[in-house]
Assembly symmetry: C3
Homo-oligomer: 111 residues x 3
Amino acid sequence: MTPYLEVHVTTDTQEEAEKICNAAVRGRVAAGAQIIGPITSIYWWKGEIQRDEEFLILMKTTKDRLDELISVVKAEHSYETPEIVAIPIEGGLVEYLTWIKVETAELPSVE
Amino acid sequence: MTPYLEVHVTTDTQEEAEKICNAAVRGRVAAGAQIIGPITSIYWWKGEIQRDEEFLILMKTTKDRLDELISVVKAEHSYETPEIVAIPIEGGLVEYLTWIKVETAELPSVE
Amino acid sequence: MTPYLEVHVTTDTQEEAEKICNAAVRGRVAAGAQIIGPITSIYWWKGEIQRDEEFLILMKTTKDRLDELISVVKAEHSYETPEIVAIPIEGGLVEYLTWIKVETAELPSVE
């Protein structure tokens, strides 16, 4: 297993998804982010099955940066308990994995 | 690694995807499910390369519930050998992971 | 953990995504491939945050075939450093996992 992660987050609009991705990438807690959607979500919430349109975000980060990435997502997210799960990366193109490390190791942009 | 999983399933229509998701969530073998699509699938089947439109389902469950979730998906699915793969979840927002445990621990809805 | 992997690749057009999927499946370095998109990508590249439309490919293979799959994707891909990451598969429907093994064990098609 490598020290890299793919983090999955869902939110309810493309706009909020872009806000979260920009905050995470600008803050160097993710090297890159992708937004898929709209998707259909079906889930239990407070005793009822809900069916909503959502957007799925995939972000690449390191294990060292995960806690900071979770903090940034929570700060930008409008949900009470947003989906934030981290999937391990077992291997891949070495130059790409190195890119994740380099981009998340730099100081955050002050722009 | 946590005791939680993201299970990926593909099927050929949005309608069948919703049927599978509703059965899994109502039966408490998944806490929530998402449907992405249409997507393009390219694969070997019986000696030929196939190209079809499909829908991708992502479901959150626990390792304890995986066998039951596979049974529910197989029962609802129209394919001979559906894609059902379980991806490990290494970490994430603690409150969200707890939600997966709580929602899959309850008795199935009798509705 | 099983000897199976889900490999994620991104590219900039549906056409290039299909070319990569066909090469990987025909070459027996992936049993099957799916294309999701268009998606939105936000990432650091050479000191700037980029925002592009992309397509996400998911491929099923074995750990034994990963290096060959990476070679095929790199050969077909137009990017300098394409995203290629391999996610572990922890379990799933046994007949489906066996299908991944069988389809990637055969000799490449000479067609």
